[in-house]
């Protein structure tokens, strides 16, 4: 989004124009004859390749692959890594993303050779440790959710949503009901309607009320016998808890539908309350949010999905069960929705999540929720008045402001504020989401940040508000101190360059 207000470069002329800009692509650094690995000898009598792969099956050398030494590769990736801002460097207050500290012991556990080295198709008798781990994590998530069973298969939250809503569909199918619609509030994550659509449903949107929650009368009206489920995020994406959740569940159940809970915001009440007690029938959890598996730049995630007893027969295969001779994988589940991926799960992420849960314990997790909510409210208190608060309902783990004040008075937008925040050394909050708030700034500090850093963040946000009033062009031209300045996203979409090409292509 390069806009007209860009200022000229303000880089210090005494600093040579190197390092950041000059780390080209791997493919541009290639130097013939280099290699970064030492390979073993084949150790066998070799046959000419074209005899082993006749009739055009053998390809020529892959044109364009780079040739680099080990140190070339280490330096390349170390250099580009420094162009990232990371949670390890400071506050990363992305709302609904729960960027909390990733404990390093979890990384070590996931790398234990006896776990990381196991093959997914080994006989069950040789992977009892893995199956015990599945069992233990499922029991822990059952305890935390109050649900009947949890499938650990889904590879991410959206995958868990899909599995959950398909289970609801299967249960209705078994009742002989071909219901057509899924209800989704307008504040929901985009994955909800997309998942419902890929499960074969049509989506009906519910409007939030002035408190940012569901309107019960509206729900009563829309919740007909043709509605399969309501997909609800708890707390919702405004950080507001649906305080009528049990009435909501009653309305949905009264019409024979299922209550789906998007657990993306589970961090707000983990260990403090249980979705099962709220009347929730299906819930997916994002292990990379509440349970600290690293986001890794956008994955891998893991999205276990828990269900109430009525949906247990429909869980994806296989489940892990305990029998007389140990743990086993159960494929004999006639009503299952089937397989939703290859093999078993994002096993490496499950190890990390279990390590986290065990490092915290029940009391520790309760404190997680308490501190997450406390921190969000502290930020809310600090910024109220400086930034517009579109919904005054009590905040849980995140708070949503908007750019209304800055935009109306000074033509400074949420995007400008977000970019300027980088110059202050903080990652921006989630912006322009939820969609029901124009110019939303959605702030989720999480529990893994101290008061001092929160004070710095609040101070920075106030300073930006002051700049917006006094020198709006300064904010509109931001950022100035990042490895690159504001990126032209419109140009990238208009003239897509999606790969490097060898010369002459």
């Amino acid at each position: 989004m390069s806009d007209e207000t860009d200022r000229p470069a303000e880089r210090d002329p005494r600093i040579p124009h190197v390092a950041w800009q000059n780390e080209g692509l791997l493919f541009e650094r290639s130097s013939p004859g280099r290699i970064g690995v030492t390979l073993p000898a084949s150790g066998v009598d070799e046959t000419p390749l074209d005899e082993l792969l006749p009739d055009g099956l053998l390809r020529a050398e892959v044109e364009g692959l780079p040739e680099l030494s080990e140190v070339d590769v280490v330096r390349h990736f170390t250099r580009i890594s420094r162009k990232n801002y990371a949670l390890d460097l400071g506050l990363y207050p992305l709302g609904s993303c729960t960027m909390k500290y990733n404990p390093r012991i979890n990384e070590d556990m996931a790398r234990l050779p006896g776990l990381a080295g196991s093959h997914p198709l080994q006989p069950e008798s040789t992977v009892q440790g893995n199956l015990a781990l599945f069992w233990a994590l499922e029991r822990a998530l059952i305890a935390l959710t109050g649900l009947e069973r949890v499938s650990l298969h889904p590879a991410a939250g959206a995958h868990g949503e899909f599995a959950g809503i398909v289970m609801a569909r299967a249960a209705l199918g078994r009742r002989g009901e071909g219901r057509k619609y899924v209800l989704i509030p307008d504040s929901a994550h985009g994955t909800n309607p997309a998942s419902a659509r890929f499960a074969g449903f049509e989506v009906k949107e519910l409007l939030s009320n002035a408190q940012g929650t569901l309107d019960l009368a509206d729900l009563e009206r829309e919740m007909t016998g043709d509605v399969a489920a309501l997909m609800l995020t708890v707390p919702n994406t405004l950080g507001v808890f649906e305080n009528h959740i049990r009435e909501i569940a009653d309305i949905v159940h009264g019409k024979g539908g299922f209550l789906y809970c998007d657990g993306a915001n589970f961090n707000a009440f983990v260990g403090k309350a249980r979705p099962g007690d709220m009347g929730v029938d299906v819930l997916h959890m994002n292990l990379h949010k509440t349970f600290t598996t690293p986001h890794g730049g956008g994955g891998p995630g893991a999205g276990p999905v828990g269900v109430a007893s009525e949906l247990v027969p429909f869980l994806p295969v296989p489940t892990v069960e305990r029998g007389e001779s140990g743990f086993y994988l159960d494929f004999d589940r006639p009503h299952s929705i089937g397989r939703i991926r290859s093999f078993h799960a994002q096993f490496g992420m499950l190890i990390r999540a279990l390590a986290y849960i065990m490092s915290m314990g029940g009391e520790g997790l309760r404190q997680v929720a308490e501190n997450a909510v406390l921190n969000a409210n502290y930020v809310r208190k600090g910024l109220e008045g400086t930034y517009h608060l579109p919904y005054s309902s009590p905040s849980m783990h995140e708070v949503v402001f908007s750019d209304k004040i800055q935009h109306e008075a000074h033509h400074v937008t949420t995007l400008d504020i977000a970019k300027r925040l980088m110059d202050y050394g903080f990652h921006p909050p989630t912006i322009y989401f939820p969609l029901i708030v124009s110019g939303a700034l959605m702030i989720e500090p999480t529990e893994t940040v101290g008061r001092q850093e929160l004070d710095h963040f609040i101070e920075a946000m106030k300073e930006i508000a002051r700049e917006a009033a006094e020198d709006p062009d300064l904010v509109r031209g931001a950022p100035y101190t990042t490895p690159v300045r504001r990126c032209d996203e419109a140009r990238a979409a208009r003239h897509p360059i999606l790969r490097w090409k060898p010369d002459g292509e």
């Binding site: 890594s81 012991i105 659509r197 990126c487």
Partner: protein, 444 residues
């Protein structure tokens, strides 16, 4: 902090939950110290028997044991890669974005196609996404034709999705070479066909010529989908793009990811230029910043769920970014020469084992699967396969994956994989153990 909020207890912040708030902490094990965690997970580890350490292993079938250079994990553990979110804020995410752009380039070079996305969950869902994408492009057609040589988990996953979307799936068997039967394929494809999907090397380890399936598909106006479960094979085999395929998908776990009992792995997808806007998943693209410097951003986001909601090309909202980074580092280390040589070592060792098995059982036996292989091989045994594999396991060898459960007509067969992680002495041990048991296992 409570004071500044004007409340006396943190409980006030949970008032909106009413009596839903639990009276006592949830009953969970812990809190455990690092050492106690090490002890707990060490015990679990001790309950496993691990390929390469406790057992010689020839297990493959979609998950491959390859050597990983130390550099990969050292770089992955840098907090600047590990502890970052999706690069929605490009000015703060150039490292991740550049790595994704490089990953996309690697996948394009290997598949011979024009555009690759930033990765998908794993092979089975990548395959499913490819079929759903073809369905979007083809609109009015309703039938999907898939080879039974495609990994059974991939096909099962497709069925789980297709069931809700009114897609009909037709499966086509194999011929004596172990390849998808071209006559049956031809017969299954018509004007209702959305796409034709074939895997190579297929689940039996046999290399398929892409052009056969893509030719049949295109003559009927259908799209051609290439499935690759062993990504290393692409270093040596004719690329899907050169073979006329429109979409290539598969599993790239082989590029630097541990077996890890099945995940997290790395689904990939590449397509021809004209289909890029129908693609699911994230894409990184090149642009410039306000100073005109080269920079990278996520782009073409109007395909995605956070913009398009129920009209999106997929519900996917993550990629496997860190896994894609591992693959990018792995591919950079191996490079043009190393990757090809590694693939050759796999092929030569597998071919040597095939010869050795044939020789041991007596040359000239009728070969049911005569097709060329890469690093996997279907072996037919005289002894019932479950007993045979159990017996070999008792000898300390995981000899392969039985085919009978997924292919009743191949109940006497199992598929084994040979990689650079299987020294020739392993293969010799397997041959001797087989010969000692039955004297009659033969490569087919």
């Amino acid at each position: 902090m409570l004071e500044s909020l004007g409340i006396d207890s943190v409980d006030r912040l949970f008032d909106s939950l009413g009596d839903l708030v639990l009276d006592a902490p949830v009953d969970l094990p812990g809190p455990l110290s690092d050492d106690e965690l090490r002890e707990y997970f060490g015990r679990l580890e001790g309950m496993n028997r691990v390929p390469g350490r406790d057992l010689a292993s020839f297990l493959g079938a979609g998950a491959y044991r390859h050597a990983t250079p130390a550099v990969v994990d050292h770089l992955l553990l840098r907090g600047e890669f590990l502890t970052v979110y999706t690069p929605y804020q490009p000015e703060f995410s150039q490292g991740t974005l550049q790595a994704i752009f490089e990953f996309q380039t690697f996948i394009c070079l290997l598949t011979g196609l024009d555009v690759a996305n930033a990765s998908l969950y794993e092979g089975a869902t990548a395959f499913t996404e490819a079929v759903l994408m073809a369905d979007r492009i083809q609109k009015k057609r309703r039938r999907v034709v898939v080879s039974r040589g495609i990994h059974p988990h991939y096909r099962a996953t497709l069925r789980s999705y297709a069931r809700n979307l009114d897609l009909e799936i037709v499966e086509v068997g194999w011929d004596a070479s172990g390849r998808t039967d071209p006559a049956a394929l031809e017969a299954a494809v018509d004007a209702e066909t959305i796409c034709v999907a074939v895997q190579s090397p297929n689940y039996f380890g046999v290399v398929e010529p892409w052009a056969t399936a893509s030719g049949i598909a295109h003559r009927a106006g259908a799209l051609s989908i290439a499935v690759v479960a062993e990504a290393l094979s692409m270093a040596l085999l004719e690329s899907p793009g050169a073979g006329g395929c429109d979409i290539a998908v598969g599993e790239a776990q082989s590029f630097g990811l541990p077996l890890s009992f099945g995940g997290p792995y790395l689904g990939f997808m590449a397509v021809r230029e004209e289909h890029k806007r129908a693609m699911p998943g994230r894409l990184a693209g090149e642009t410039v910043d306000a100073d005109g410097e080269r920079a990278w951003v996520l782009t073409l986001a109007t395909r995605e769920q956070h913009i398009r909601r129920e009209k999106a090309t997929s519900n996917i909202c993550t990629n496997q970014a860190l896994c894609a980074l591992a693959a990018t580092i792995y591919l950079a280390l191996h490079g043009k020469v190393g990757l090809r040589r590694l693939a050759e070592i796999n092929l030569q060792r597998a071919a040597a084992l095939k010869r050795r098995l044939a020789a041991e059982a007596g040359a000239g036996a009728a070969a049911a699967f005569s097709g060329p292989i890469f690093n996997e091989l279907t072996v037919r045994a005289d002894e019932p396969v479950p007993e045979l594999l159990a017996g070999l396991q008792a000898d300390g060898i995981l000899a392969g994956v039985a085919l009978g459960e997924d292919y009743p007509e191949l109940a006497d067969c199992f598929v084994l994989a040979v990689t650079e992680a299987n020294p020739p002495a392993d293969a010799e041990r397997l041959v001797r153990a087989l010969a000692a048991r039955t004297g009659a296992a033969q490569a087919v």
